[in-house]
Symmetry: C2
Subunit: 771 residues, 2 copies
């Protein structure tokens, strides 16, 4: 746990340089715009501890899998998010001395991520050799308005000297992923061109034996140097070689003068442009933004972020740390995924690091979709559904590799292009509940938006594929006279290869039920459309549907008659039932205990039965949820960042306010305070949605009930008040909760009826109500 | 399955060269003498498919572990059997042309492993460029009499030409393990010396971060060249450089003359000699064997093997393939481990390859000890027990790494020096039944030899350590009101992380019972000695013994009341119960099915419940064994080489003779016919003991009953007769079984009473009985 970030409502502030935490700060201060992103590296370079990271959305490399012991069915490659060309670099020499904050004396330093504006800013005063004092001020952003572009303003003032400055803005493609399995470089240089202050590189991912697409990325730059606001009369010497272009200018800067470099850069990917047009498009793009200029781009950036905050901000009164924490999470979610492109998804590290690889986990469906449903246009969440629809064929192939047939679909645990990347049998082959979350998201979307057209159209094909998988994965137990599902890993990954995981059994049967429902609905409403789906999927109405129904009616759910709780899996009660309080000094167990001991213990990594009760709350009474919560929560160690939010929401619903707040605190500043000592690898992007949910679904009790948006708000004691924006069926509400009252403001042109504490409240267009 | 090896009673014969199978042949024709060994490589080198392999017993390297996903508790290194200096090399140039059977024309070729004599012989006629025909005849062996030495005789006759022969016997230490995890070299050169026809290399294993001993091996050679039996007057030019020494002689050989190179070599390890004496000892050793000469060494080799065959031969009449198969297995077991050194053990590949690494698996206790007990001096098996005793402290440390305490010992799955090497959680941490096999071997030794001194002395410390482990690994289930053992992998590795594996539960409780028995016995017979053990182990008589007893009395054993069979593990009956016949075309499932499918299925890799019934046959009635056999055997795919022998023995005991023979066939020629397509990696040394057991314990029904050696022999229909030698308590018997009768010959100076079909038979010294 670190504590060096200054608390501030809108900014992430590093006061004074903390070189020992530099990689953490770089992660925290990452920038992105959905299409590209980068860590908070220094433009001038840094010879100390740093992880230089630039990423282009959707561009990856199939790194050769590394395993200890090969298991049949493992994928051959693991798609790695690709560390790409460094476009922020500006080498600075002052009278020949390389500017490097690792070697010079730092007199003053402040690095700020301004989340309101989406801008990274740095001011520093350093002393170079001979006592030369230099002030530095840099600002940069990944433009939301021009989402393949970024811009930098980098100023220096020599405070007590006059000297020649040698300034070399460059593009550098000699980049390796730190997490490359075999320390290989993944890029080939294709082209390099430089003309005066302009430079272009085209890099291509290396060829691979897995028939995975090779990507090309054209990176372009143009720079402009001003001395006290006037064009500096400098000639530019260019360098252009494999994977590197640069332009060097020499400028004499007198004491007190300000020299400013404006650098404009673009990243264009072959995912969006034909190969032959990459350079010409990059040139045109660079020309356009350079013409627009830094200040106008900056203004557009501020405007774009204002628009986003308008839809998704949460304010918290009386707790700056909490305010900073929640905005930090919302900010990173907002810049990681914008929903513009249904080929993209929300990687576990976003644009903040390369660890884990892949871009898509079940986190997307279970945690992120509710956030985007409430804070962005419906199309954003819908695009995340379409992403899976487009991978359906791959999911069917993935299942076929594991011995399934006839259109059964198993979505991968981790993927870039729909193919499985993960290789750990107990997860890859057995953590199949992910399939259920993908089905649930279709339902969740329909429930929230009221738009059932996705479920009955593309959604139904996905549901049929998943239902077929469950049918084949479940078997009849003669012994029990019921259906069972053997050999799975539930959300609680501290159990492997268990039988009848309650959550997985439940979500599997729920999928079958929901699929049957959607078919039934479509049968009644649009039988012609249904026939199309039947034809396309070769669905056997008289056998498959009956089979599904039979499973739904005869599934085994492990249950403790004594305690009247669902059992996480068969045999759970054979364990020694301890509580987390019993092993306080031995936590985190994933760092202290051997794996077998973790498996044998009753301790739970993340919500499992409770994850199910959270998803399907409407199918259980409160007493049942309470009993299960009281049984499982004390055994849960929350060693996944995805766990506390679910507990926070359930506890809030059960009126266990202290527990709800305790759980909220575990999610809110996870990365900001580096709880798990791993922020240097990048941020936990997907779990950030959980923090948002803890406030909106937890403290404010937001649900959808019978098509109505519903709230049951309360304030955690520690706060004075809070507010959040929420979009629902084309209406944008601002909900403000204070100690005294609840007010709901309707900023839209249409009226909306909501439920507050189960009472219907009508809110007129552009009106507000106070309760 | 290959079929190119000629059937022969005493020899493994390759008629005509099979370059496509060369690595298989090299494995089959490996030589060893317990201290060193090598694959059947060509002396002159070979540019085609070959795995050059030389190994020195006990010399290994801690290769950095390779894992996909690290789990707490994994060891940092995997000790690899080390491919060592090549001492067999003799480079041959004929008029400048390098002799290489991959490039010249082969007119005749025959490679023979003579198992009776322990000699590898090769004859070939080849045509070199210009039609020059050359006859080659080589013989070599690893000397049993001088067990750090080997000798080669390599002759050539130019059949139709006269030319200069350039002959370069060499030692080459530029060797890498093919299975190195990171393609690293493991050897450093320390010294190299060459004088005329003598050369010496000292190599040292590279330093490592694991505090694992660095080994030095001195390899020495001396050669001698004869022309038509007379000293060839050749001067020798020497080469000596890092990791390489050689001497080159030029000899003119006339048409029809025979030139013969005798090469004598030694390998001395720092495990046996101080560093500073390695070279001087190697020189003295080389001088001694060169003085002795090839012919005398050869004669001693033949004599040594005759002595071994006298004790362990099995003859089979009427089936040459079976005869060859059984002798092949006995031969390799005999040359892999001689029992001279309690620091050594029986590696899974012996001296025939480097795959898997480590030298010791539970195979030693479960399969090999019975073989050595019956076919070698008692001290051979005893040394295998002492090996584990010496590793007790490491086993306690190994358990401590996994969270156990107070002297609980978990022996490693794979080891060289007592430390765990294996890194696959479901095996390393969970396949803990290995601990039981180590306890069982102590019992087995006492039962067979009648010598209980080991059990009550060193053995008891081991038993206490293992019992303490079981105590801590077992927990009380409130639900069941019984003890349970959660999260294990049984011998059937096609199930992982199961609860209450019947075999593991049984052998755990048996260990506790046996430990209590041994303590009780010692209490009565030698309480002073018991007190020493109690003091040394800090055994708490009033608590620990009571705990063990309570577990023995209250353990849960999963059982099917319906079928009256033990359940392999809890929940086994939830599976779809198919038989192997149902999936005929899908086998082997370990190559066709994904891992999760294997796990979910009922199919069994190797005997599990049946392994327990085999070990503890005396504790079950025949009807129980039959019921379980009939239930499990049809589900067993025998995809471990260790499985069929157990089934063969049980089937024989149950009178299921066809099944017994079918199972025997699956073990007998596993490597010879390359059933599993993996013989090129080396032989399945430990499972060879199972073949021997199938004959002696299976067809001949050998057991020990109340201290008497017992037989219930029958002949498989396919055979005319068979015989085997068996040693028992200082008596050596030859048992011959024909269609008509059983004869037992006592070759010893003492009489023995045995049981044949449960009747006592007295066999006088040097007498025989016919039944």
């Amino acid at each position: 746990m670190k504590n060096y970030i200054t608390h501030d409502e809108w900014c992430i502030v590093e006061e004074g340089f903390h070189p020992e935490h530099n990689e953490i700060t770089e992660s925290l201060m990452s920038l992105g715009n959905g299409r590209m992103g980068q860590r908070g590296n220094f433009e001038e370079g840094y010879s100390g501890k740093t992880l230089l990271g630039n990423y282009v959305a959707g561009v990856y490399f199939p790194d050769k899998t590394r395993v200890g012991w090969w298991k049949n069915g493992y994928p051959n490659y693991f798609a790695k998010v690709l560390n790409a060309c460094n476009w922020t670099g500006i080498e600075i020499r002052v009278g020949g001395e390389l500017l490097d904050l690792n070697t010079c004396q730092i007199d003053e330093f402040r690095r700020v991520l301004n989340m309101k504006e989406g801008v990274l800013e740095r001011t520093a005063t350093v002393t170079l050799t001979g006592g030369r004092k230099l002030r530095i001020h840099s600002r940069r952003f990944c433009s939301m308005a021009d989402d393949e572009a970024g811009a930098i303003s980098y100023s220096m003032v020599p405070l007590n000297f006059t000297d020649h400055f040698t300034i070399t803005p460059f593009l550098d493609g000699n980049i390796r992923n730190r997490d490359s399995n075999y320390d290989e470089s993944f890029w080939n240089g294709i082209a390099h061109e430089a003309y005066g202050p302009e430079g272009y590189l085209v890099l291509e991912t290396k060829s691979n034996p897995y028939q995975v697409e090779q990507f090309r990325v054209a990176t372009g730059m143009k720079f402009d140097i001003k001395l006290n606001g006037m064009q500096a009369a400098a000639t530019v010497q260019t360098a252009s070689r494999d994977k590197y272009v640069a332009g060097t200018a020499q400028v004499e800067v007198r004491e007190g003068q300000e020299i400013t470099i404006y650098k404009y850069a673009v990243n264009l990917s072959s995912a969006n442009y034909p190969h032959e047009e990459l350079i010409s498009k990059a040139k045109a793009y660079v020309a356009r933004i350079a013409e627009k200029g830094f200040d106008r781009m900056y203004a557009e950036q501020v405007q774009a972020w204002a628009g986003k905050w308008e839809k998704n901000d949460i304010t918290i009164d009386g707790d700056v740390a909490a305010q900073q924490g929640i905005r930090f999470n919302i900010f990173h979610l907002g810049q990681t995924y914008t929903g513009e492109d249904e080929r993209l998804n929300i990687g576990p590290k976003g644009f903040t690091g390369e660890k884990y690889g892949g871009s898509t986990y079940w986190d997307t469906e279970a945690y992120c979709i509710p956030f985007y449903l409430s804070t962005a246009d419906d199309k954003v969440a819908r695009n995340l559904l379409v992403y899976r629809y487009k991978h359906l064929q791959k999911a069917i192939e993935n299942a076929a590799k594991l011995g399934f047939s006839d259109g059964a679909a198993l979505y991968p645990m981790v993927t870039m292009n729909g193919e499985e990347c993960h290789n750990e049998w107990e997860i890859t082959f057995e953590e199949i509940h992910r399939n259920g979350a993908i089905a649930y998201a279709i339902y969740d979307y329909a429930r929230y938006t009221g738009d059932e057209s996705y479920a009955t159209d593309q959604g139904l094909e996905v549901l049929i594929g998943i239902s077929r998988f469950w049918k084949q994965r479940i078997n009849w137990s003669e012994e029990k006279g019921q259906y069972v599902m053997l050999g799975v890993t539930g959300p609680n990954e501290y159990e492997n290869n268990v039988n009848n995981n309650w959550y997985t059994n439940y979500i599997a049967c729920w999928t079958l039920r929901y699929t049957l429902e959607v078919i039934d609905k479509l049968w009644k409403e649009d039988s012609r459309k249904l026939n199309e789906v039947i034809f396309k999927t070769n669905l056997q109405l008289n056998t498959e549907l009956a089979d599904w129904k039979h499973i739904v009616d005869n599934m085994h759910y492990p249950f403790d008659e004594n305690r009247q709780v669902y059992l996480q899996q068969q045999g759970f009660l054979d364990k020694e039932l301890l509580t987390v309080a019993d092993i306080a000094e031995q936590r985190p167990i994933n760092q202290r205990w051997s794996w077998d001991r973790i498996l044998r213990s009753c301790f739970i990594k993340q919500a499992d039965v409770l994850q199910g009760l959270y998803f399907f709350e409407h199918e259980f009474d409160e007493a049942t949820i309470r009993r299960n919560f009281e049984f499982y929560e004390p055994m849960t160690v929350h060693e996944s960042s995805l766990s506390p939010c679910v507990h926070s929401i359930l506890a809030a619903g059960l009126g266990m306010r202290e527990k709800a707040y305790e759980m909220y605190l575990r999610t809110a500043r996870l990365d900001l305070d580096d709880y798990n000592n791993d922020t240097e690898d990048g941020l936990h992007i997907t779990s950030m949605a959980g923090t948002w949910m803890s406030v909106v679904k937890g403290f404010a009790g937001q649900r959808v009930k019978d098509g109505l948006l519903s709230f049951k708000p309360y304030i955690p004691e520690q706060w004075e008040g809070y507010s959040f924006r929420i979009g629902f069926r084309s209406v944008l509400l601002k909900v403000t909760v204070s100690k005294q009252s609840i007010s709901i403001e309707n900023a839209s042109e249409s009226a909306l009826t909501v439920l507050v504490n189960d009472k219907k409240i009508f809110i007129d267009a552009l009106a507000s109500v106070q309760l």
